[in-house]
């Protein structure tokens, strides 16, 4: 019997992804646990393991295909020692169980009739039935001519049929022929506003290399634009002296050396932020049209630069974790972030973000808020700077910290109180224990 391998869901909310790579081809024998493919979403790549044993009959989706819907059939396995007749209904049920990512092994259908094996040539290369798009002949032709994906166009005809008017609307949204950029508010399907082409803006064709947008870049573009446009940002800046912090760090690392744990300045910043949020919980909140969400935990997201972009793994309930634990988690998350091995729940969400550009020598900066968080803290480089103490010039290691706030939920006063709570914790790390 044929076992259908379905596109797995990497998270409960995932609807589609890219089938990045196949690790097998038709004719290969797979055992349970063998990696057969890699699935990619905006920010993570995941290996797909075979749950059943058998011979790969056909790969139904090409490597690199984007927008593969969750539960779409991506391959077929000929089950071991069984006939090749599959009751079509069997595959439709147990969708989740059949997903190779599932913990438990899915039961093999008990087909034991003796039949001649179906030749591989007879396997249909057709797409799964649920991929048929209902569109008028004219709409279909116009979409093809415009290079538009019919599946991505909302249909206003009978039973959701895509008709000419829908294709015209989709074309109008991404038209770049208008010399003046007209405003187009993001619609439900988040159509990009009309922009001028590079050429119209004075960049000659051929004078640049065009690198296609990958999932991560598209997501960053979308989220950052939405946030920058929709969230009323304002920055609050303070300088903190970190000599005491640096000295404490040396001592702490000496203590933890035998455990192989190294605490960074950033880990200490995370701890300080988590502690300060306990004291000023109003800064650990999100704006929603239905009310201000006062989060119960400080889920601190740390911005990690990775190849081609950036990602924000989260340390959950940081206020309950000791420094060593924070350090270990942070390192593990950062490593896996760089290898694109984070699980969606590890980088989606968070109540407060920290972005540290100190190691790159940046003095200060104001990050863009990660919706729906109320604040993001931007940490600059610790540098030797002249300071004034008791009317005298002195030298201290100073770090500039900027808190960007969502003014709908974190007003200036709240932001300031938070920084007032944060500053003594950083400048005197011992107080973080209290």
């Amino acid at each position: 019997m044929s076992i259908e391998i379905l596109m797995p869901a990497l998270s409960p909310t995932m609807e589609e992804g890219t089938l990045a790579k196949w690790h097998v081809k038709a004719g290969d024998t797979v055992k349970a646990g063998d990696v057969i493919a890699e699935i990619e979403t905006d920010k993570a790549t995941m290996e797909v393991e075979a749950v059943d044993e058998g011979v790969v009959e056909a790969l139904l989706v090409d490597a690199g295909t984007e927008n593969v819907k969750v539960n779409a059939v991506i391959a077929r396995l000929a089950g071991e020692g069984a006939s090749f007749d599959t009751p079509p209904a069997a595959a439709a049920q147990d969708d989740v169980k059949k997903s190779p990512v599932a913990e438990s092994k899915s039961p093999r259908s008990p087909e034991q009739g003796a039949s001649a094996p179906v030749s591989k040539d007879a396997m249909p290369t057709a797409r799964a039935d649920d991929e048929r798009v209902f569109a008028s002949p004219l709409a279909r032709r116009l979409a093809q001519a415009a290079g538009l994906d019919l599946k991505a166009i909302a249909g206003s005809g009978p039973h959701g049929r895509v008709i000419k008017a829908d294709v015209d609307a989709a074309r109008g949204k991404i038209s770049t022929s208008a010399p003046a950029p007209s405003s187009a508010k993001a619609t439900e399907d988040k159509a990009p506003r009309q922009v001028q082409s590079l050429e119209q803006m004075g960049i000659a064709p051929g004078s640049y290399d065009l690198i296609p947008l990958d999932g991560m870049r598209k997501t960053i573009a979308r989220r950052m634009t939405d946030s920058f446009r929709d969230v009323p940002h304002f920055p609050l800046t303070i300088d903190v002296e970190i000599d005491a912090l640096l000295a404490a760090r040396v001592k702490i690392n000496a203590m933890l050396e035998k455990d192989g744990v190294k605490v960074s300045v950033n880990d200490l910043v995370i701890k300080a932020v988590a502690t300060a949020l306990r004291r000023v919980p109003e800064a650990n909140a999100s704006y929603t049209p239905d009310g201000i969400a006062m989060h119960h935990h400080a889920d601190i997201a740390m911005a990690v630069a990775i190849d081609g972009g950036l990602i924000t793994p989260i340390i959950r309930a940081a206020e309950t974790k000791g420094l060593a634990r924070i350090a270990v988690e942070a390192k593990d998350l950062a490593d896996r972030a760089r290898n694109k091995k984070l699980k969606p729940e590890e980088f989606q969400g968070g109540t407060f973000s920290i972005s540290n550009m100190g190691m790159m020598g940046i003095k200060s900066f104001a990050s863009i808020i990660n919706e729906p968080q109320g604040c993001i803290m931007s940490v600059g480089a610790g540098e030797q700077r002249p300071v004034v103490k008791d009317g005298q010039l002195a030298v201290a290691t100073v770090m500039t910290v900027t808190l960007t706030c969502d003014h709908r939920v974190v007003d200036g006063a709240i932001g300031a109180r938070f920084l007032q709570a944060f500053k003594p914790l950083i400048e005197d790390p011992l107080t973080m224990i209290v």
Binding site: S136, R141, L142, A145, S156, G157, P158
Partner: protein, 470 residues
């Protein structure tokens, strides 16, 4: 049902717009009443579309009698009884009228016989009916649809006003006391041409006057030209580009003074039929007091047939062009579905136009000129019936089918036909346009042989240089 209203919907007027709207409303569970001051079925059923087709059929058969020898047949003593022809058409109207009466009963729509007038009300204007049987009755509803239709337009200043004797409008022309020997028809739209065709078939001397430089001005130019030629072959005379300066009457007839390209001319006949357009029935409804907006004489409505007054809608002839029964019915259904909260799908459903003269004319969508003016890269094709097997076999070889495509997208923009029973064929093109079929789909469709409809297929092929039988 609204607790304080008598009905969910009141429809004023029971023509093809009103009675269809009422039936649809009933199907959707709305408690509906319909107000009618005259006969159920409105003008279309009683004094328009339907009875004229009965008259035209009589005329057509009689005209065929003079060609019987073409078919190897002969008849002696062929003749007609004019009053019987008229009676038949009245009988047809009565049958249809009974049909609508039955439909109203079947769908439990309350029929209120009387003349309606609207007064301020909420959520929709109140309907005050002066009952035909005497007395008055005020009814309320959540929604009111005005479907009062239209009447013949008259221009009294130049004498174009009916007197029921020498000067007729459509109504008089459908049940006259006697067959006029000579007739002048003013206006060459569908109504004027149909009457011209009917009376010519019975032997009257007919001259048609048209102000524009071609007859049937809304049709494609090629169709206008072919129609004029075909009618002239039957003996109908035309004056195009002619302006009527005065119509004067005497006891025995009319004199129509014209101006044709600067030259004055006078025509005389026993009767003149005035068919110069339509005037919406918006008077005495109380629309002015309610502040209902009008647009060039008809009720202004949005895409759901709503007027500017909450709860008040208008459909059909009273709401503007095209003044066609099927447009009224279509609007009636759409309007009621909108009122009932259904969201009809977004479909481009073009409205066909038909003229039932001999030969018939049928068209839908854009003319070639309009398509070009709209900026389309036009590909037009034609196929004449004279080389269509069925047409030749039946001896009905007049006319052609013309299709107009957008050359870039293959979309069918319009179709224009003249010939025998083309009014029955136009629906094929209507379905194609609604489904947004392309030339590919039409070319791939198999048309039965031998039919006149094959000319539709060949016209499509001709649009792209692939015609087979020419």
């Amino acid at each position: 049902m609204h607790p304080l209203s008598d009905f969910d919907l009141i429809v004023i007027g029971s023509g093809p717009g009103g009675y269809v709207a009422a039936i649809r409303a009933s199907q959707l569970g709305l408690k509906t009443a319909i107000v009618e001051r005259s006969e159920l079925g409105g003008i279309c059923l009683n004094w328009g579309c339907i009875p004229t087709k009965a008259l035209l059929k009589s005329g057509e058969i009689y005209e065929q009698l003079s060609h019987l020898s073409d078919y190897g047949l002969s008849v002696k003593g062929a003749g007609f009884d004019f009053q019987k022809i008229i009676e038949r058409s009245r009988g047809v109207a009565a049958t249809m009228n009974k049909g609508v009466t039955f439909l109203m009963k079947k769908h439990r729509i309350e029929v209120i016989a009387g003349t309606a007038k609207l007064e301020k009300g909420s959520p929709a204007p109140k309907v005050v009916v002066a009952l035909s049987a005497g007395g008055s009755r005020t009814v309320t509803a959540k929604n009111v649809i005005v479907a009062t239709g239209a009447r013949a337009r008259e221009i009294p200043t130049v004498g174009l006003a009916s007197d029921g004797d020498r000067v007729w409008t459509y109504r008089d022309a459908m049940a006259p006391k006697a067959l006029p020997k000579t007739l002048i028809v003013i206006g060459s739209g569908a109504i004027g041409i149909e009457f011209a065709s009917f009376y010519r078939a019975l032997g009257s001397d007919v001259t048609v006057i048209e102000a524009v430089d071609r007859i049937l001005p809304v049709e494609d130019e090629e169709v206008s030209k072919a129609a004029k030629k075909a009618f002239e072959k039957r003996g109908i005379a035309f004056r195009v580009g002619a302006k009527v300066t005065k119509l004067s009457k005497s006891k025995t007839g009319v004199t129509v003074d014209l101006e044709v390209s600067g030259k004055a001319e006078s025509l005389q006949a026993e009767v003149a039929i005035v068919a110069v357009g339509i005037a919406a029935n918006t008077e005495n409804l109380g629309l002015e007091a309610l502040g209902v907006k009008l647009d060039r004489g008809h009720v202004a409505t949005d895409s759901h047939c709503a007027t500017n007054v909450p709860g008040l809608y208008a459909i059909g002839d009273v709401a503007g062009a095209p003044w066609l029964a099927h447009k009224a019915s279509h609007e009636g259904v759409h309007c009621v579905e909108h009122i009932a909260g259904l969201k009809p799908a977004n479909l481009n459903t073009p409205i066909p136009g038909c003229t039932y003269a001999n030969p018939q004319v049928a068209s839908i969508g854009l003319t070639e000129a309009a398509a070009k003016a709209a900026g389309h890269e036009v590909r037009a094709g034609r196929f004449p019936f004279r080389v269509n097997g069925k047409a030749v076999a039946a001896g009905e070889t007049d006319g052609f089918v013309k299709t107009v495509f957008d050359g870039k997208t293959g979309a069918l923009l319009g179709a224009h036909m003249i010939g025998h029973e083309v009014t029955e064929m136009i629906q094929g093109f209507g379905v194609a346009i609604t489904l947004e079929a392309t030339e590919e789909d039409l070319m791939a469709t198999v048309f039965a042989h031998p039919t006149m409809s094959e000319a539709m297929h060949e016209a499509v092929l001709d649009s792209f240089g692939k015609v087979l039988h020419l």
